[in-house]
């Protein structure tokens, strides 16, 4: 997985790219998210549009992120979930847990002020 973060005002968009699995990917994501929270960011969008595929470790990374951001008093949303990821969210019933948006712009616009 490659991870790239971009600031859009008070929102950080973390773009995942490639194949998201366990091991090194989890550490990379956790460290980068922690940096954003340390910088005072409380609105996080995970852009999944360039993910080839993700396994259950990837879903665990997203759940961990959601919990961390919520515990810090923030909000995390998913943008551009691919068909494959959407089907994994259905199988695992995680559709109930995540807010998903078709575009990054829509996810950003959905944050409460």
């Amino acid at each position: 997985m490659k991870l790239k973060s971009e600031r859009h005002g008070s929102v950080v968009v973390m773009g995942m790219k490639g194949k998201v699995m366990g091991g090194p990917d989890a550490t990379v994501f956790r460290d980068e998210l922690k940096n954003h929270l340390d910088d005072g960011i409380r609105k996080v969008v995970i852009d999944l549009g360039r993910v080839d595929w993700m396994n259950s470790s990837g879903l665990g990374i997203l759940i961990g992120g959601l919990t961390t951001v919520k515990n810090a008093g923030g909000e995390m949303k998913l943008a551009r979930t691919t068909d494959k990821i959407q089907s994994l969210l259905m199988i695992t019933k995680l559709v109930q847990v995540f807010s998903t948006y078709e575009t990054v712009e829509a996810a950003i616009a959905a944050f409460s002020e």
Binding site: M21, G22, G23, W53, N55, S56, G64, K84, I91, T92
Partner: protein, 141 residues
């Protein structure tokens, strides 16, 4: 393209990419769709992760053996660890409301959805998980 592929890796999650690349290469030219290739790659990553984390308990010099086989109408993947195995019937349901926010526990559920056959069996050296994917999609959902 040979009919059988075999790769042996130590119990290190950093090896997942190597396993993925090996299988992707081996499947080259087979009549799978992009979607089916992703199903296989995801499922292989799940069972190899389990072999490393659970079967071999992360002990790096315990090995994981991946064997890829052409079978009639599809492929069979066999992943063998050096562990004591488990009873799939006793695995908790990750979709239970009380487990929904857990960071783990969804691997086998996903594999069962993405592959046509999943078998767990004890072998003399440990535990073997076998996965079958057919070229033509079956309607098992």
């Amino acid at each position: 393209m040979s009919d059988e592929g075999k790769l042996i890796v130590p119990s290190d999650l950093a090896k997942l990419e190597e396993v993925d690349g090996f299988a992707e290469n081996w499947m080259n030219g087979m009549p799978f769709t992009k979607d089916q290739r992703d199903d296989i790659a995801i499922s292989l990553s799940e069972v190899v992760t389990n072999a490393i984390e659970h079967g071999n308990a992360g002990i790096v010099d315990k090995m994981v053996t991946v064997v890829l086989l052409r079978i009639e109408g599809g492929i069979r993947i066999e992943v063998t660890d050096q562990g004591g195995g488990f009873n799939p019937a006793l695995v908790a349901d990750p979709t239970d409301p009380e487990n929904l926010l857990s960071e783990s526990g969804r691997g086998l559920l996903i594999v069962h959805h993405l592959m046509d056959e999943v078998d767990v069996e004890p072998v003399s050296t440990g535990t073997r998980i076998s996965l079958v994917k057919r070229f033509t999609a079956s309607n098992t959902g």
